[in-house]
C-alpha cells in the first residue's frame, strides 16, 4: 500500500515558494525598482495604502512588487505589517477645508467659490493605447518636466478652498449631523450593530474599492433610493497634528494625500415636524482614489436609510461585513484548504438520506 498519511507538507510549501519566485523572474527583464512602482504606479500604491489602511508609500510599493501586482495581496501584506505597529498617538481631527488641493470639482454647481480645478484626471481622455509609451526616453521625460511649469501654480491658486457643501449648510438646505464625541477604533474593538458612525466610516475607509463600487452602483442603479449628486470631490494634501506631552501647541507630524467626496443625497428621513432637507454622504480615503471616495460617500448615506425594507446597500451590517477585501479574499480563498473531514461527514449524511429514500420507495413498491 503506497498511501502515506503524513504528506510532505514542509517540502511542498518550500517548493511552492520557490516556484512563485521563478514565475516572477523567468522573463529575465530588469528587476523592478520600488521607487519606480511608487512614482509611476502611483494609483496602485494609493489603492493598496487605502485598503491596507497604512499610509506608507514605500512599503506599499514594495508589497506590490512582492505580490506581482496583485493589489489585494499587497494590501494584505501592508495590513498585516500595520497590525504589528503600536498605536502611539491619535491625530487631531483633520479639517479638509485646509487641504492643499491638486483637484477639486463639483457636480452640483457650475461655478463654485475658488473655481473648479480639474487637476490630474483621466476622465476626459480617450482610452486609446498610447504606443508612444513603448519608447519613453529619459531626456523627453526631463524636457516635459521642465516645460510643464507646475511651479507657477501656487502663485495663481489660493492655499485653501471653501467647501461647496458649506454653502448649502448656510442656507439650511442640508441636514447637519452631530459630531461624534467618542472615536471608536475598529482595530482595537470588534464592530457591533447598529454601529456608531466613526466605526462605520473607518470600516468603509479601509474597504476594497471594487466591492464598494459594486454595492454603491447597486444603490444608484435602483436597489435603493439615494439619488446622489456630487457636492464636491477634492484630492490633495492635508496636514496632520498630534497633541504631545511637553508641547503646549499641537505638533505638526507631516501630511498625507487624501481623496474626499461629499455626496448630496435624498431628503433626510427625520420626524414629520422638521423641514425637508437634503442629506450628505461622506467619503474619505488615503491617496488618490476617486472611485472609492465616491462609493464610500454613497454607502455612508445609503446605510443610514430608514426604509422599512432595505436594499442590500442600505443594510449596514451587510455592507460593512462584506466590503473588507482582506477578509473576503481570505475566506473565499480558504476553500482551497483540505476539507476531507467535513466532506466525509457530508457524504455520510447524503448516503443515509439516499438509503432512507430507497427504503421508503421499496416499502411503497411492496405495498402496491
Amino acid at each position: 500500500m503506497g498511501y502515506v498519511a503524513v504528506s510532505g507538507g514542509t517540502e511542498a510549501i518550500l517548493n511552492a515558494e520557490k516556484l512563485v519566485d521563478y514565475f516572477r523572474l523567468k522573463g529575465k527583464s530588469e528587476p523592478l525598482v520600488v521607487e519606480q512602482i511608487r512614482d509611476q504606479m502611483r494609483l496602485a500604491v494609493d489603492k493598496v495604502m487605502g485598503e491596507g489602511s497604512l499610509y506608507a508609500p514605500n512599503i506599499a510599493a514594495l508589497a506590490i512588487k512582492q505580490a506581482e501586482g496583485d493589489n489585494l495581496e499587497a494590501a494584505f501584506i501592508l495590513r498585516a505589517y500595520r497590525a504589528t505597529q503600536p498605536r502611539r498617538y491619535v491625530s487631531l481631527a483633520v479639517d479638509t477645508a485646509k487641504m492643499q488641493v491638486i483637484r477639486r470639482i463639483s457636480g452640483a454647481f457650475q461655478d463654485i467659490p475658488g473655481g473648479q480645478i480639474i487637476g490630474p484626471t483621466r476622465d476626459y481622455t480617450q482610452r486609446l493605447v498610447d504606443f508612444s509609451l513603448l519608447a519613453e526616453k529619459r531626456e523627453e521625460m526631463e524636457k516635459f518636466l521642465c516645460n510643464i511649469g507646475i511651479q507657477t501654480i501656487p502663485e495663481q491658486l489660493p492655499d485653501t478652498f471653501p467647501k461647496v457643501v458649506d454653502l448649502l449648510r448656510q442656507e439650511g438646505l442640508l441636514v447637519v449631523l452631530e459630531p461624534s464625541q467618542e472615536v471608536y477604533d475598529i482595530t482595537r474593538q470588534a464592530m457591533s450593530f447598529p454601529s456608531c458612525r466613526s466605526a462605520k466610516l473607518q470600516s468603509l475607509c479601509r474597504g476594497e474599492t471594487g466591492a464598494m463600487m459594486a454595492l454603491a452602483y447597486s444603490s444608484v442603479r435602483g436597489f435603493g433610493d439615494i439619488h446622489p449628486c456630487l457636492g464636491e470631490l477634492r484630492v490633495g494634501y492635508v496636514p496632520l497634528y498630534i497633541n504631545h506631552p511637553g508641547c503646549k501647541k499641537p505638533v505638526y507630524i507631516g501630511r498625507v494625500l487624501v481623496t474626499e467626496a461629499e455626496i448630496i443625497a435624498q431628503y433626510g428621513e427625520g420626524d414629520k415636524k422638521s423641514k425637508p432637507q437634503l442629506t450628505l454622504g461622506y467619503g474619505l480615503c488615503f491617496g488618490h482614489n476617486e472611485l472609492k471616495a465616491m462609493s464610500m460617500g454613497i454607502l455612508d448615506r445609503s446605510t443610514r436609510s430608514k426604509a422599512p425594507v432595505k436594499a442590500p446597500a442600505e443594510d449596514e451590517e451587510f455592507v460593512l461585513y462584506h466590503i473588507d477585501g482582506i477578509e473576503a479574499a481570505g475566506f473565499v480563498n480558504h476553500f482551497k484548504l483540505p476539507h476531507y473531514v467535513t466532506f466525509q461527514s457530508t457524504l455520510d449524511r447524503l448516503r443515509r438520506s439516499q438509503a432512507l429514500k430507497e427504503e421508503s420507495a421499496d416499502v411503497k413498491h411492496q405495498a402496491d
Binding site: 498511501y3 498519511a5 503524513v6 479574499a329 481570505g330 480563498n333 480558504h334 438520506s353
Partner: protein
C-alpha cells in the same frame, strides 16, 4: 506597550508575534469566554501574516497563551503534515522557538482545524480550535445583530424547526460537521467544523477547549467538566458518522474517524484514519507485536 527587550532579534517580532497588549486583550476575552461557557466574546482580532479564514482565530488564541515551556502540536484534518498545519507551525516556532511534537499525549497545546484527536485529552492540555463561522444560528439567521438577540433570549426555536424540516424533506438532518450543540444548558455553539464524531468528546471532558474565529472576531470556550449536548429529538437521536465494516488500510483500526480515498490503480475505495499521529501509533504498536511474536 511593546516590550523592546522581548523582540526576537532574528525575526524583529515579539515573542509569539503579537505585542503584549494584544495578547493581554485576547487573554482577558478568553477568560470571559471560559467564565460564560459557549458565549461568543468579541475581540479586536488584528490581521496576521496568515490569511483570514486560514486559522487566524486559533493562532491568536495560541499566541496569547503559549509560553516558552509549552510543547506544541498543530494539526489540520487530524494530520500534522498537511500544508496549512506546517505553515501555522512554522510561524509559531519561528516566533516562539517552542518544542513541537506530533504525539497528542506529549503536547501541552494542540491547535487544530476540523478534528479533535482520537486519544483522550488530559486536564493539563488545551485544545485550540480554528473556527470559520462562530455563529451556530447562521443556518437560519444571516444577521449577527439578530442572532445575538436570539442568544440573549435563548430563542433557538428556528434552529429546531430547521432540523425538523430537514428530517421531513430528506429523512435525515443535512448538517454534517459543525453540528449545533448546547453548552452548559445555556448557549448554543458551533463547535467548529469538527465531524459529529468528535462532538461527544467535548462533553464533560477533562480538557479546556478554546475556539478562535479571527475573521469573525469571536472567542468562545468549553471549559472542562461542562455539558455539551448536540441538538436532537426524542424520536430522532443525534448520531455520529457511520464507519461500520470499515477498517483503516494503514493501521487496521475500526474505531476511528476515517477519510475515504479513491485508489487510482485498483479503482477501489479505501479508508484511512484522519488522525495521522494516532494511526502511526497503532501501526507501530502492531508492528512491534508482530516482531515480538516472531
Amino acid at each position: 506597550m511593546l516590550n523592546i527587550r522581548q523582540i526576537n532579534k532574528h525575526t524583529g517580532y515579539n515573542f509569539a508575534f503579537l505585542d503584549e497588549n494584544t495578547k493581554r486583550e485576547i487573554r482577558r476575552k478568553t477568560l470571559k469566554a471560559v467564565a460564560i461557557p459557549g458565549y461568543q466574546v468579541p475581540f479586536a482580532s488584528p490581521e496576521l501574516p496568515i490569511a483570514r479564514g486560514w486559522g487566524t482565530g486559533g493562532l491568536q488564541v495560541t499566541m496569547s497563551i503559549i509560553g516558552k515551556d509549552d510543547i506544541l502540536k498543530v494539526i489540520d484534518q487530524g494530520c500534522d503534515g498537511g500544508v496549512n498545519a506546517v505553515n501555522i507551525r512554522n510561524l509559531l516556532t519561528k516566533t516562539t522557538g517552542v518544542r513541537t511534537t506530533f504525539d497528542t499525549q506529549a503536547a501541552t497545546i494542540i491547535q487544530t482545524r476540523h478534528r479533535v484527536p482520537e486519544e483522550p485529552l488530559r486536564e493539563d492540555q488545551i485544545l485550540v480550535l480554528q473556527v470559520p463561522i462562530p455563529e451556530p444560528l447562521r443556518y437560519v439567521e444571516a444577521s449577527t445583530g439578530k442572532a445575538q438577540e436570539m442568544h440573549a433570549e435563548m430563542d433557538y426555536s428556528r434552529m429546531w424547526v430547521f432540523l425538523y424540516e430537514n428530517i421531513v424533506k430528506w429523512g435525515e438532518i443535512t448538517i454534517g460537521s459543525r453540528y449545533p450543540s448546547l453548552v452548559n444548558g445555556r448557549y448554543l455553539i458551533d463547535p467548529s467544523p469538527i465531524p459529529r464524531w468528535d462532538v461527544p468528546k467535548l462533553n464533560m471532558a477533562d480538557t479546556l477547549f478554546l475556539f478562535g474565529a479571527g475573521r469573525e472576531k469571536r472567542i468562545y470556550a468549553v471549559p472542562p467538566h461542562t455539558r455539551v449536548e448536540p441538538m436532537e429529538f426524542e424520536d430522532h437521536r443525534f448520531r455520529v458518522e457511520d464507519f461500520t465494516g470499515r477498517a483503516c488500510v494503514r493501521c487496521g483500526s475500526t474505531d476511528t474517524y476515517m477519510n475515504e480515498i479513491h485508489d487510482g490503480s485498483s479503482g477501489n475505495k479505501l479508508y484511512v484514519c484522519s488522525d495521522s499521529s494516532y494511526c502511526d501509533k497503532v501501526r507501530s504498536r502492531r508492528e512491534d507485536d508482530l516482531d515480538g511474536g516472531k
